[in-house]
Amino acid sequence: MDSKDQDKDSLYLKLIPYFEKYGILLLLVIMIVVMHFLQPDVFLSWRNVTNVFKQISWQSMLALGVFMVIVTAGIDLSVGSIMMLSLMILAIVAKAGAPWYIVVITPLIAGFLCGLFNGLGITLLRMPHPFIMTLGTLYIFRGTGNLISGGTPISGFTDEVRYLGHGRIDLTWLGLEKSQYLPVSLVLIAIVYIIFWIFMNKTRTGKWIYAIGGNPNAARASGINVNKILVIVYSLCGFLSGIGALILAGRTDSGYPNAGLQSELDAIAACIIGGASFFGGRGTVLGVFAGVMIMGILRNGLNLMDVSSFWQQVLIGSIIVLAVYVDVLRRDFGTRK
């Protein structure tokens, strides 16, 4: 091999880690550019951009929770049902006339407890795979939500309760127009994602979550209490679903039986598109965010272009397969020595 080839090779090798980390962002940027050319007047307008963020707000919470679970090489199929149950509990507590600060906190506690139930079930009952436990609770939580609400929608919450999902941060003091506001849910997404980025990358528990996904035996042999970490992960996942419920309550002003139906699949899809590995130990918070955005922009863009929702399903499915195939190619490329 001559020196020119070597230079080229070492440049490739230097670029690979960046591809691994930021490749998915590249895809996101490409999508934004393409959408902008297809819908130049509308797509990047203030109204539409904030709309996209409002639409992905609660999904982004579910996806983040499922992401942590996937990093441990697990799966949580129950996040949609956790969100629905938390939402129904919120609605019932709100209708019972509880003060807003109690109402706001109930879905968070309910979600956390649902996640705790999953975590304890997986570890204490020694379920052979989290798929089974969370498939069970997918039915259990949604059934419970319907039992306590009678299967009918419960509507009408106060502004305080709706603030996170529906609130607007006025930006007229920046010289912007009244319609150019910042949705509170967008700020919430940013804050939650930054907190969980720090948690996953900077704290010891976050590192252990990655270690468990990389090699659970290594984690166990290192004296890490694997079961305890798993319970924490599933509980946090439930907690995030609870935040999702609170956002959804604000957006729709209603607790309804079909809330979050099949949204666990959207959450899983966002993680996979974002580069998380089903075998655990791989994936980034930034990647999940990109995954959620890609799905959100795709839906939004197709809606703008009046493409039928049937085509949306076909396209989202294709993107999942394509994104993972690109990942396979990238890995081949990365291991070429």
């Binding site: 252990w208 090699n215 035996n217």
Partner: protein, 249 residues
Amino acid sequence: MSSANQLLLEAKNVTKYFGTITALENVNLKIHSGECLGVVGDNGAGKTTLMKVLSGLYKPSAGSLHFEGKEKVLESPRDSQNLGLEMVYQDLALAGNLPIGENIFLGREPTTNLGLLKFLDYKKIKELTEAHLGKLKINVKSADQKVEELSGGQRQAVAIARSTAFNAKVVIMDEPTAALAIKEVGKVLDLINSLKKTGVGVIVISHRMDDIFAVCDRVMALFQGTNFAESELSNTSRDEVIGWIMGKK
């Protein structure tokens, strides 16, 4: 008795049942500082089970473990680590998705604490890793390299580095050269010899007579879960040890 050959670890009459299977029966083992003990035996003789008992992964059904003369009950690998007892597993027990340094300190990471949250001290991990790898003369491109990118020999070296990062007194190695290319075996054996010089007691489980006769001072054979034979290395021969493995004296 000089500190050079002080008794570090003793297992007395260790018995382990798995259901109706007797994996170990009244097994005894001693290891002194600066000494290397080879443990041989056929598949299923109980070598790995014995090592897992010593590392706290299994609790013995009967018998006791004594560390520096005191009886100890090991509830978990953490307990044995706290005593200075480290295990290098056959399957290496490394997380391939994490860098070298984070593997070496996995479970015992230096942290900066902020209330309940423990933040990893990445700078310290890198410094300590580089210093430790340098001390053991282990060459890798960078402490930030992921373990899955390393060769078998380098992984074994990382696993050994991991076991000695916290002033280990006894290091137990399960088939340390089994998965290695021939040229890498020598490096690992050199590493074992340098550990012995620092006063660490090393227990090597191996099928390979070449390894046993290159680094061990004493060899013991397990046969069907019991002590079968034991000898100073200088008083035995390869053929005799191979005979022990097959249950012949």
